[in-house]
Symmetry: none
């Protein structure tokens, strides 16, 4: 079963509105195990809608048309479907009543234009709209001798979502005769590039049928490996995912810092909390980003003491007690970490200092970053790295990289 999507609206083409509807529909179709291969946007233009719809129906068993069901003259989805069916529109008395009653309850006169929303292609069915005036449509069409189905739903997201959930998906599943359940899980990684990741699990990706494996690059949030499985039952789908997850974790090891909603800061806080340790941060090039991410987690206050963005050299010296001559150096990073531990009264102190750009500093090129970690009862540790990109990216990557280092260090203590 394949169902494609046609979104209607000149405002979508002009970028006045971002089409989030077709992404939402795509996700629902995928979860229901229905293929979707071609999504299109066209403007409020009858000939172009007819062409696009006819074209999509040549490849797909069904098409969901989203938008163009309003009352104004440029809402022509009804007309387009009638043309593709080779029929005309008829005005349905029961719909006139529904629309009039909605206007009645709203205490307003009904503009004559609204009667257009009572028009239905001859031979088509109505999908009720309990929350708006625009009824949906469900129409069978014969294309090249095959029977296809067109669903028309409103462009207003919550009306569309209710109609797709309550009516379109059940109808599609009934037509497909399938009762499959689709689940997916994202393994979130940090520490290698997308192509590096792809090479590590190339054989698993190549062999993919069920579950399937895909990569998603989410910038500062990490690189995700997404596993999607199809089963006869939810239990079967979950078991397929868990088996694949174990295999992937076997290859990816500690590159994986979490799944689904688990962020890097969540991973760090969980590990600290388990040991009953508090965290203090001293940041230079990141200017407060590391603390801001940590503080983003609800409940962070149990663990997070605070962060000092010691941007000026004098602040590093006067507040943190740094004595190192150069601020981009191992010594400075280490003194910042122990300073954070002491000044903020934290069990664990971590730090980042480096060159974000736009110009080199201390004779060090842009992207040079020193990280340090001071853990209870252990000598302070530090590591240097070279991060890619411009000022913005260097600061972002430094933030997640520092947190990742702490995560790995805490795991290594177990």
């Amino acid at each position: 079963m394949r169902c494609d999507v046609l979104a209607i609206g000149t405002e979508l083409l002009l970028g006045q509105i971002v089409d989030t509807n077709s992404a939402w529909i795509g996700e629902q179709l995928a979860t229901a195990g229905i293929d979707t291969f071609d999504h299109r946007k066209v403007g409020d233009n009858l000939p172009r809608m007819v062409t696009a719809l006819r074209d999509l129906l040549r490849g797909a068993d069904a098409v969901i048309v989203c938008g163009g069901l309003g009352p104004t003259p440029d809402d022509v989805t009804r007309d387009a479907i009638a043309q593709v069916m080779g029929t005309t529109l008829e005005r349905r008395p029961e719909l006139i009543e529904h629309i009039a009653s909605l206007f009645g309850t709203r205490g307003r006169d009904m503009p004559a234009n609204n009667l257009r929303q009572a028009d239905v292609p001859v031979g088509g069915d109505v999908i009720p709209n309990p929350i708006g005036t625009a009824p949906g449509l469900q129409c069978e069409v014969t294309i090249d001798g095959a029977t296809r189905v067109v669903y028309a739903v409103p462009g207003v997201p919550y009306e569309m979502q209710q109609m797709v959930t309550d009516h379109v998906l059940p109808d599609l599943l009934e037509r497909s005769g399938e009762r499959a359940v689709i689940l997916s899980r994202s393994l979130k990684t940090w520490g290698t590039s997308e192509s590096g990741l792809a090479e590590m699990i190339a054989d698993r990706v190549d062999a993919q049928t069920n579950p399937t494996i895909a990569f998603l690059a989410r910038g500062i949030e990490g690189l995700y490996v997404r596993v999607t499985a199809k089963g006869q039952t939810e239990e079967e789908a979950r078991e397929l995912i868990e088996t694949e997850e174990r295999a992937l974790r076997g290859v990816l090891g500690d590159l994986v810092f979490g799944i689904d909603d688990e962020t890097m800061e969540h991973a760090v806080l969980t590990r600290l909390h388990a040991r009953g340790w508090t965290l203090g941060i001293a940041e230079s090039l990141t200017g407060g980003l590391v603390g801001a991410r940590i503080a983003d987690v609800p409940g962070a206050s149990a663990t997070f003491r605070g962060s000092l963005a010691s941007y000026a050299t004098e602040v590093k010296r006067d507040v943190l007690g740094v004595t190192a001559e150069h601020v981009v150096s191992r010594e400075c990073a280490e003194e910042m970490a122990t300073g954070a531990q002491r000044v903020l009264g934290a069990d664990v102190g971590i730090s980042a200092t480096g060159v974000a750009g736009p110009t080199p500093q201390d004779g060090q090129p842009i992207g040079t970053v020193w990280f340090a970690m001071a853990l209870p009862g252990l000598p302070v540790e530090s590591v240097q790295t070279r991060l890619p990109g411009d000022r913005f990216r260097v600061r972002q990557f430094a933030t997640i990289s520092l947190l990742n280092l702490l995560r790995l260090r805490l795991d290594a203590m177990q």
Copy 2:
């Protein structure tokens, strides 16, 4: 001239990512006076990409293909374009060098997969990518006897945007033979709602022909009033914009904090720098966000001393010298501001303390925030506000609101 858009990526069809790129491109095309009638999304599937591209090129003079230029085997945009051109790919030595040099500066080995990004259809041209490894493509194609052009740009938004702005739009305008120059400028505001803004300038918006006026809500970045003008020359377009800008500023007054690339943090730093004053920050609920935004401005180090995210109450007391009983209070905010001034050795100290949620604190509801400012030689000042939304939005709004308060306060001193 008509240019359509083809977005590539199975993750777009599955709704894992919303396709914002084609909306952005559509907006740019509209601003440049180029028609766009058909936007499509297809997955990482070679035959379907070829079919869609060929089909679009039958109707449009040009097509922008967005995505599928990455290094992994499922990135097949290059192959699809070569097929539509009826040619093969050749590996370009200069691109190998570019990609290798990017990996070189990162001090990492280059995975063999990345060499695929050096492949170009025979007869095609390269669009340089100064900020990423994926080069863009510009290829002429003959369809039904007519010459069309295909541009391939990366799916990463900022790489795509730079390529479209610097290369694709100028090339399209040159091909269209149009010599009109389109310029636009955004007046960035903070302090009122979109409908409030709309009411203030309703008569100017209604009278719009050239320049046109539009609103853009950009969350934490502010509400933008965008002025777009078309002229025979750049000078003519610029003069139209500047006349309108003066008129709008007359109505909007100090709601406008900057234009185009000027951010709120830029506005604050410029004003402080003009007085030769340095800035120190004490943050509680924002956890470091205020400092992080300030540090985001290149050259911030001349003015920004640092920021203390004093998340734990003990850090407020021990490091900043706060004595106030309640942390969500006028007294606490004021002591934090003077503490930041003193401890960070700054001329100006500012602070924010409040309740971000998820639960109320100190008997205060979520969204209650106290701001304070300590300016040289003046008594410390403070203000309370109630911010809307959830934890994320409260922290974001608190950040820009604190900076906006300082901006207005500095302007009032002139």
